[in-house]
Symmetry: C2
């Protein structure tokens, strides 16, 4: 940990970035990140281990010649294949080395009717597998990028103002007028944070979300904090966006209200399916809803303001609400914190700089500026129109639906607004399905979450991350009955925690990098950090009892879990790294010889022996009945040129005698130990006996050669003991015990 | 199958009886039955295989000397043990051969805090483990045997008469008088079947249930039919006895009626727990309820008859019931079939002849006679008293409770009758927990049900059979809401099917064995068979729609399933048996030599090679990262004196290059194949590649040596790929592929 804090850019865990060695925290994505790489220290260790091998190995070409098979599979060309499966490996791509092969798309297909059906279904649902090379992204121009990257931010207008008003109305409908000054303060906040993210783009032209920026500038722990905030943020974004999208539908069609939860869950399923297909195809399709929504809000705002102007900008009185709280600083702060949810998603563009056409940073900054302008305009428009229109939060109809109705009337214009709102919210939820797996990918690359999250599915989507996002989001959505309002208190904290850390990271960055204009950039980011931090504190303090405590508890827990994962990977990496100066000393070099012969005593425990001259082993074969399966296992064990001991566990003396008779009939070719188990346990005494043997010579590898009967039909498994499986479970905890299963296949 | 029909006593499947070779179908029980034994044919095959080994093996004493460990564990005596586990194997019992060890009772204990706690709990609940030698049964005198073996039969009086009356009352309460002639017919039936079972005892002095008698005399199929009937019978006995026992309780304490189902389930749990402890301790404790029940029914009968006599044996009119059916042959037959449930359990004594003191058969026949006398007397007494008392089935109170109330009045005598009834019904249900696992044991010994049912738990109880009985019984009990009546139609068929087959078996037996008095014995059994068979037909026909169809469908299904299991074991036995004249021909004898060297082509597929001169193998080592775990697996593979090939699956070309660099740094000591998998699958292409290699030389064993990272904590498993597990699953279906996992343990 301390190592990492000193050099946050460098070796920060089990998984360092690409092979290039630099750019440990860049935002590029490669399927190879799942495989940890050896650094220079590891390679040096490897060289030293290799010298140990060189001293005891027969010449290299002998090994090549000894192979009884054609490892290049050149025979495949001529010979007809039994099933399609053999066609799935072919010679490498043009220009590849001769010892390289390539797997085909069909490599995942199972060779059974059920397997083939499952494969066909999978392909029909999520499309054909994509080559890793398809990852090279189509670059986007400004207009497309705006449409694809902004729905998360812009769609917040659909619930942010309403969330603010829902707090104010608690003090009576007359206090809804406070939405004007609070809205203005939020607009200032948006401006400030937006300007701050322009600086992020400048400093991280390869893309940097809050996690990367905070990790990089402030250290791994702060990055983790931002990551934990974002994880919750993404989950809540899906839940809130879907809830809000369904609310737009049910506002227009009240008869669907009773189906709120099923409709939302269906949307989430749709999003999962679409994202498992990979999002490459979808880019352009997402442009529609964004521009439609901008047009819709523009329409509502302008029509609403014209209407208000016709009344001399005299606000219509809202339907009276009984005040259940009095106006005070606390209420205003709560309304402010709720309204701040309108800012979710503004960090998306700074994360995604690499998708822009060159010059990337310039285009990205321009697009961010446009987006923030639109966001502020739309937010202010909605707040103003709602004010003049006398709209107030009510169940059954959203504020946006109310003002749309009052501004543009019913009929097609209203339906258009509601449809655009629903679509953009769905697209916003979808953007979480992009961002969340990417975040987990970066965290997995750094070793903070399980490595499977760095794994790309065969459509180049991070399938694991998609599923891990969808399940909690669906649970939360259904658990809160599809309502937006109770989710709002949980929402703001994670978002603004990430904002704060990203902005603070930029402050730290500018203190180190005195680029041109760094002072004003620092000031911008400092302001953003302070304001965002204030929102975090306000939100946590004023909404603690309403649900924010969940986030306050979960964020540190997530950080803690990530640190434990990281510590494990760190230790694993240390334990697994070939180390120079540590190996091949002490133990004498011994040519690989043919046992049976007395084994020398090694100075190393079995698992520390890294070259074959150090490895010696003997085999123990548990035999229940001296049948062909057992004989095959014994023959196999003997063929491995190591000493062999057979063990039989007997429930009774008589049975032991019976077994001995069979053993003698066979010819008593090998040492045999009979263990009578008068309490009839089989696996436990066997495991204990093997452990006792191994304990005598921990420097000698004990190979347990287990005959395993393999049945042709799954149901037949219950007809045979699962000794091999249970032995494995009992003995896997002991070092230096190798377990070999020798299958014997029964006919169907 | 035909083989077995010709000689039903002889080799009828995978599992023949004890080592003595005779008594293939005797009723003795030994833990060794779980291990199938080789017959003479197998031993002959073994000798021939052994000759093949003799030609290629180094001398026996070399093998002994080569062992690096003391296999007798003599070091244990002096050395202090790290944990208690090493004390669990000790030198054999006095008189055992020197190469024999013995496991202790603690051998099942797990060496972890949770494991130790689980062990302590288990021991506290079901008691300390019992040695197999404790199986030697305490023999019983007549009085004790009557008490222990008769509850099943005698307790049927608690529900049989009521079941009969419940049918008659459908024709109106006036038709309850028909219970007298029907009861008389049932008494005749009891007498006949009872006499028939006296003959069973004579012919099977070692004990023979319906399954054994029918298998033995009529052939395996008929035995299976009896077994299937008995399986259902036992399950229903538990459900009906518990339901009837709870009814006795709720008749006395009506406020408990709402808790019928929980009370019954608690009773079943109690029975399971008691039986998992083993029933050895319980014998004497069961004597009480039986004699109490006999006394209670005697009391009720005598008091009731005295009361009836005081009215001049003029029946009291039963409370009027509206007739919903008319009297007819069908109704009478249904009442007869329902009343026949009073006969369940009369076969118990003939199954259990070995528990009697010598002369066993004489004592058993005497006890059976006494039991049948008691049964008939109690049955007739209850029917008569119910008739004179004007009792009629009603919900909320059993007939037995009504006549007890009317005969002995309320208060302590009544409570005594109800208590005795409940207790004897519980003991009867308990007897099913004895009989069912024993039946499954015999069927498992003959290979008709999975072999685990021949396994005795560490309390010498057949734990698996106990659990398999309890679950369906509890489900049926709860599913029918704890009511006795709807279960009755299902009940009679299985019982009388078993009776019929046992009696028919005896007919066949006497036709073959002309012992003294065989003609009269034959006549007795013939009468029993015909009458029992008639009951089966009547019950199946008249109660088909009421639920009997379930039994009519299930019995053939069970028979079919048993036959499939048996066919599998049969084929497995054939496939596994060392066969003379089949092995070691064709392939040239080759001394075990040291690869790398060109491997000869064998004429046998890998799995058919039964001696080491025929086995040759090469190793494939999948390597993801060239870390210490992988190096250890490579070193181990090389130390086995076989050719080695390393395989690496790469998601991208770049990663493949990276891996090649590490490989070259190490020294390129072994052949390496790189497979680029541009669709990012790992296991599928690896499995396909290995399969393609193996297909080239199916005569050479392919040993897959998989490095496996073993974590110290369970939760850490999700942090590492489960390649080894998934590879095993993918490749286990292929013959001749041995899978070896070389563990590498990470620190905690």
């Amino acid at each position: 940990m301390s190592d990492e804090q000193r050099d946050p850019r460098g070796s920060s865990g089990a998984a360092e970035g690409g092979g290039s060695g630099q750019a440990g925290r860049d935002a590029s994505v490669t399927p190879a990140a799942q495989l940890p790489e050896l650094d220079e220290r590891g390679l040096a260790g490897l060289r030293e281990v290799g010298r140990g091998w060189a001293g005891c190995m027969p010449p290299r070409q002998l090994w090549e010649r000894a192979l009884p098979v054609d490892r290049g599979l050149e025979f495949l060309g001529s010979e007809p294949s039994r099933s399609g499966r053999f066609l799935e490996i072919r010679s490498g791509p043009p220009g590849a080395q001769p010892d390289e092969l390539e797997a085909t798309a069909q490599a995942g297909e199972q060779d059974s009717p059920v397997g083939r059906l499952a494969y066909a279904l999978r392909r029909a649902l999520i499309g054909p597998a994509l080559r890793s090379s398809a990852l090279a992204q189509e670059l986007m121009g400004r207009a497309l990028a705006l449409a694809v990257l902004s729905p998360d931010a812009l769609s917040s207008v659909a619930y942010g103002p309403e969330a603010m008003m829902a707090v104010l109305v608690l003090a009576g409908s007359s206090e809804l007028k406070l939405s004007l000054p609070i809205g203005a303060a939020l607009a200032v906040l948006m401006l400030s944070v937006g300007l701050g993210y322009r600086q992020v783009i400048r400093a991280y032209p390869h893309g940097g979300g809050s996690y990367i920026v905070a990790s990089d500038s402030l250290g791994a722990h702060w990055g983790l904090l931002a990551g934990a905030g974002l994880i919750l943020d993404y989950i809540l974004t899906v839940a809130v966006s879907v809830a809000s999208g369904v609310a737009a539908v049910t506002s227009a069609i009240p008869s669907l209200t009773s189906a709120t939860v099923p409709i939302g869950l269906a949307m989430i399923v749709l999003l999962v399916a679409g994202n498992l297909r990979g999002v490459r195809d979808a880019g352009a399709a997402f442009a529609g809803p964004t521009y439609l929504f901008v047009a819709a809000i523009g329409l509502v705002s302008i029509a609403g303001l014209i209407k208000a102007g016709s009344h001399g900008f005299h606000p219509v009185a809202a339907a009276p609400h009984r005040a259940i709280e009095t106006v005070g600083v606390l209420l205003v702060l709560r309304a402010f914190a709720s309204g701040a949810t309108a800012m979710t998603g503004i960090e998306v563009i700074s994360n995604a700089v690499p998708v822009f056409k060159a010059p990337q940073a310039k285009h990205a900054r321009h697009t961010l500026t446009v987006m923030m302008g639109l966001l502020i305009a739309m937010f202010v428009g909605v707040v103003l129109v709602a004010h003049f229109d006398g709209a107030a939060p009510q169940s059954g109809q959203t504020v946006l639906s109310q003002i749309a109705h009052d501004s543009v009337g019913g009929g097609i214009p209203y339906d258009f607004v509601q449809l655009a709102t629903t679509l953009v919210l769905l697209v916003a939820a979808n953007s979480a399905f992009n961002g969340f797996p990417r975040l987990l990918y970066f965290m997995a690359r750094d070793g903070y979450v399980p490595r499977v999250f760095a794994r790309m599915g065969d459509r180049l989507a991070f399938s694991n991350g998609i599923l891990v996002l969808a399940v909690p989001a669906a649970v939360i959505y259904a658990g809160f009955g599809g309502q937006t309002e109770p989710l709002i208190p949980l929402f703001a904290i994670g978002v603004f925690l990430a904002f704060t850390l990203a902005q603070s990271g930029m402050v730290a960055y500018w203190l180190r990098h005195h680029d041109r204009g760094w002072r004003s950039a620092l000031a911008t980011n400092l302001l953003g950090a302070v304001l965002s931090g204030a929102v975090v504190l306000v939100a946590a303090a004023t909404k603690f009892a309403e649900g924010a405590w969940v986030v306050v508890v979960l964020v540190p827990l997530i950080v803690l879990a990530c640190r434990r994962v990281h510590a494990h990977y760190q230790r694993a990496r240390e334990a697994l790294m070939p180390r120079a100066g540590q190996l091949s000393e002490g133990s004498p070099v011994r040519r690989v010889t043919m046992p049976p012969a007395d084994l020398e005593v090694s100075e190393r425990l079995a698992e520390a022996q890294a070259d074959p001259s150090q490895v010696s082993s003997f085999a123990v074969v548990p035999v229940a009945v001296l049948d062909l399966a057992a004989l095959r296992a014994l023959a196999y064990a003997v063929s491995l040129a190591q000493p062999v001991l057979a063990v039989h566990i007997s429930p009774t003396e008589e049975e032991a005698e019976r077994f001995r008779r069979a053993w003698l009939a066979w010819g008593d070719h090998l040492p045999l130990e009979l263990v009578v188990s008068p309490y009839r346990a089989t696996v436990a005494p066997l495991a204990n006996y093997i452990e006792a043997l191994h304990r005598q010579r921990p420097d000698v590898t004990l190979t347990l050669v287990v005959p395993e009967i393999v049945v042709a039909r799954r149901w037949q498994r219950i007809l045979h003991g699962r000794i091999a499986v249970r032995l494995r479970a009992a003995l896997i905890a002991y070092e230096g015990i190798v377990i070999t299963t020798v299958p014997f296949h029964l006919p169907a």
